[in-house]
């Protein structure tokens, strides 16, 4: 019975979309105000009274808690044959995803959703609708055991999220949205192709790793590429550092906290993880992951906007998990440990990152500068930063601990070292984040009780997380104390320098714009586009001329007719000669037909 929660998890937010949008179909269009006819003030007040965005995630959370592992709900008539089910991975994913969405939803419903400064809540209806839509997609792809559900949810989430990214309509947001959409679509197309091949190879739409052993390289490449966009795998990460800062706070929280994790889920489901050693792909993936980590951290360090910094840290963390996945692909034996590790790490990072993003928003708006609330918020932010950096006694450490065995088992021994270095980098990055956030000038806005509460809950969960998995294993608590320590040390030094001699570090800040590579690629693309446009313009002109000619000829034939051209033919001598001539030929032919020799 509880299995129906699996349907409710994503169907419920879908149902909320229309009421939440606050669009009104029946009204007096004559007097409707130009500004936003679909929303008149008192109606909007009524609409805003219900926290739609907050309500969306509840059934999903319930499903995560109540539906037992292995619970299934087959709906063969739905879509192309839907099969909802909950395995261990899905359960954990559903749990942390639902939590982050819930917190973000509360924040969105009660706090600010971005939007134009003149009317911050004018478009809240649109925001809520899209928020719920992508939420539904996110849940659907988690609880759906068949790849149609996964793809459908994936697409729904991806497209709807565009609206969240461009929500405030600023040029930068629009630009970020464009980049996001283009890359997301490319990703989806690749994923589509990959899944098609997968099905034709595996012959089922609910593949187990065992079915996937026959997967050919093209399919694997497409799956990696398609989901890699979402995962922020370098160099497919370009959209991430642009979209996160552009999106309103709750949106970036879910983007970073849950949406990008989906890629890992997809890989775990559609690659023969643990069944079959794919050394080639494994090594490739490992290297890509390492590259992602090592590139993202330094670039992140020189950013100004705290949300950009968080974005780069997300990229780095995804890099780590991808590395681990790569290693698992090389050595299937590691799968049980590795998969669990990845999932837990994803969960921990999701919660922490979601908390951090929301925290930035709160830091900006909840409570006046120096107020008790602000102090509290800063404190919690620091804790979350530490957790993300994996400082001892935090969930970060615990999660990292679960990855250790995989990293140690890697045949490339130097990987451990690299990871350690990146740990230092992460610590530095978080320090940089705290520094920047601390210096944000807060300007208080009313009624922030609920968002803060929800955020507090999230933070509490981050704090409690380790007890869930590693209670009473001292080793767990002290995982990578050293690198974090070093990192904090360096950070302190850097802070000192920055305090005494700002000039020394200033040049580095903003050295690399957000969306790093894009800044290099764009001019190229623009040039290409311009030449293309010129070419097409010429082509069109030529074609237009041709068409015009053709039509003119057409018109001439059907238009004004010609005069009498048979006058000559009507001259008696002419006609007569023709007549006699034809008769003569006829006679000859008749005679010839019977002439000797001719039958």
């Amino acid at each position: 019975m509880s299995a129906w929660l699996l349907l409710a998890a994503w169907a419920w937010p879908l149902l909320l979309v229309l009421p939440a949008s606050g669009v009104r179909f029946r009204q007096d269009w004559h007097t409707a105000s130009e500004a936003s006819p679909a929303l008149d003030p008192q109606r909007h007040a009524r609409h805003a009274a219900i926290p739609w965005a907050a309500l969306g995630a509840l059934p999903a959370l319930a499903a995560a808690l109540l539906v037992p592992v292995g619970g299934t709900l087959p709906l063969p008539w739905l879509f192309l044959g839907t099969h909802l089910a909950l395995d261990a991975t899905a359960q954990i994913y559903l749990a942390f995803t639902a939590l982050v969405w819930l917190a973000a939803g509360v924040y969105a419903a009660f706090g600010e959703r971005g939007g134009p400064p003149e009317a911050p809540t004018a478009r809240s209806g649109r925001f809520d609708a899209l928020f719920l839509l992508s939420m539904a997609g996110n849940f659907w792809l988690i609880v759906g055991a068949d790849l149609f559900s996964f793809y459908a949810g994936f697409a729904m989430m991806g497209i709807a999220a565009y609206g969240l990214v461009v929500h405030d309509g600023s040029p930068s947001a629009l630009w970020a949205g464009k980049v996001y959409l283009v890359m997301a679509l490319l990703g989806e197309v690749a994923l589509f192709a990959g899944l098609v091949m997968l099905v034709s190879e595996a012959g089922t739409t609910q593949p187990t790793p065992a079915d996937l052993t026959g997967l050919n390289n093209a399919a694997i490449a497409l799956l990696l590429g398609g989901l890699g966009v979402k995962a922020g795998l370098v160099p497919l990460h370009l959209w991430l550092p642009l979209a996160h800062p552009a999106a309103p706070v709750p949106a970036s929280a879910v983007l970073s906290g849950t949406m990008i994790k989906v890629a890992l889920l997809g890989w775990l489901r559609f690659l023969p993880v643990g069944e079959l050693a794919l050394p080639g792909w494994g090594h490739w993936l490992t290297l890509a992951g390492l590259a992602t980590m090592t590139l993202a951290l330094p670039i992140g360090l020189v950013q100004r906007d705290p949300k950009v910094i968080l974005a780069y840290s997300s990229i780095a963390k995804m890099g780590l998990m991808i590395t681990v996945l790569g290693l698992v692909l090389v050595q299937p034996a590691l799968a049980p440990v590795g998969v669990a590790g990845i999932v837990f790490y994803a969960a921990q990072h999701g919660l922490a990152k979601g908390g951090l993003f929301l925290g930035v928003g709160l830091r900006k708006h909840a409570g006046a500068a120096g107020s008790m609330t602000q102090a509290l918020i800063l404190g919690v932010l620091v804790f979350l930063a530490l957790a993300l950096a994996g400082a001892p006694f935090t969930s970060g450490a615990a999660a990292k601990y679960d990855l250790k065995p995989v990293l140690d088992a890697a045949e490339w021994t130097w990987i451990g070292a690299v990871v350690a270095v990146t740990a230092v980098g992460t610590a530095l990055l978080m320090a940089r984040f705290v520094w920047v956030t601390w210096r944000l000038p807060p300007h208080a806005e009313p009624h922030w009780l609920w968002p803060v509460a929800a955020w507090g809950l999230l933070a509490a969960l981050v704090a409690l997380f380790p007890f869930a998995i590693a209670f009473g294993q001292p080793a767990v608590w002290l995982t990578n104390a050293l690198p974090v320590g070093i990192g904090v040390g360096i950070a302190a030094a850097a802070a000192l320098i920055a305090a005494l001699q700002p000039k020394l570090l200033a040049p580095f800040i903003g050295l690399i714009p957000p969306g790093d590579l894009l800044a290099l690629v764009m001019p190229l693309l623009r040039a290409l586009r311009q030449t293309g446009e010129v070419f097409i313009a010429d082509l069109k002109q030529v074609w237009g001329r041709v068409q015009h000619r053709a039509l003119r000829a057409f018109e001439r034939v059907f238009g004004s007719p010609a005069g009498d051209v048979e006058r000559g033919l009507r001259q008696w001598p002419v006609a007569g000669v023709l007549w006699v001539g034809i008769s003569a030929v006829l006679l000859l032919l008749l005679l010839a037909a019977r002439a000797p020799g001719a039958g």
Partner: protein
Amino acid sequence: MSDPLMTAPLVLCIALPLLGALLVTALPRWSVSLGIVSALATAGAAVALTAAVWQQGTLHLILGGWDATLAIALHADGLAAALILMVNLVGLGISVYATDYFHDRLRVGAFWPLWLLLWAALNGLFLAGDLFNLYVMLELLGIAAAALGALTGNRDAVAANLRYLLVGLLGSISYLLGVALLYTAHGTLDLGLVAQRIAAAPELFAVDAAAMTLMVAGLALKAALFPLHFWLPPAHANAPAPVSAALSALVVKAAFYLILRLWLDLFWPITGMAAAMLLASLGAVAIVWGSWRALRAERLKLLAAYSTVAQIGYLFLFLPLLTATPPGPARDDLLAALLLMALTHGFAKAGFFLAAGLVQTHAGHDRIDDLGGTAQRLPATTFAIAMAGSALIGLPPSGSFIGKWLLMQSAIATGQWWWVVVVTTGSLLASAYVFRVLSRAFGLEPTPVRFVTDARAEVPALTLALVSVAVLGLASGPLWRLLELGSAGGGA
């Protein structure tokens, strides 16, 4: 066979219109009512005749008890019956239309006698069983037609129809010479007997060939086979609408019918592929040229006239195919297709001309480019033109569609695929000229209130067009029966 009840229609078909002609000349003030009555009677007789043929095959009647060499023989097989039926139904339509068309007394007085005379000549020509009666009917036809054509009395009409008259005379004289030669060679004029003797006396083929040349050439002149069509467009375009309808739909067909008869029944032993090819290629040129001229024509009725030139061309295409096809179902199909084309064109062209005449009277002119308003104001008439037009193009479900289908089929089957190209080109051009007219009907003029505005004038046109499109196309089966009845007795 000579059961009087059954053979009576043979005589009536000719006698009734003649009688009518006499009456209307005698009582000019009743001409309209008398005319329409005799039209109805004649049509009735024709229906009865067809029914008779349908029931008991070919009818044969010899007037006055003399032997075949001397007497006047009447003869109706399936082919003739089908054409008679078409001619008389179209004739009836034209008569109904005419009751409302002419208004000044002089013309009314002149039209009806001539028209009934023409009608009698037509029926006579289809029924005549011997070469000489054919000649007489041919002459009668030519004279009546020319007189009718000149009825409007305006200069172009007179000039054109004078030319038509002279051409007609030339044609019939050459035909007569041919008859004379045949008589010299075979000593009889009865179609059946001559046919037998030609078949029996191959050594005389030179004379036969000469005779055939003279007769076919003369008839080709009357049938307006390219390039001998020069007289047709002005004559048909300048005649009053009902007359143009009769000339284009019926008279020209009669000449072709005669050619076909001679070809199939009389001269079959001496006709060769070469001769057939000659006529067919002239027909092919006629199709393309006629359609092209129609497309470039300035006036609606001129367009219709040129389309007749093209349509006649189609009929000639059948000759080589018939020559190449051995007797059997395939050949029957071919004959039926030929007949179908002829009938469809008869109905369609008549409808087209009647409608065109209506447009002309309403607009005061028939310049295609300025017809917009009128075409839109007369939905029924425009419909008639549209349907007749699609029959001329050969679009389904018109009879000519089936005709063209079978024509192309046998062209491919006999390996004469080039006719397919001709037919396709012709159809394309035809659709071009038809829709050049129809596109005028979609303008910004105010919406017409009702469909039919002037029943007496519009209904005949509409009905004729309808027959050509729907009836002939969807129920052409009976033709086959008629034809095989025809071939069962006498005929080929």
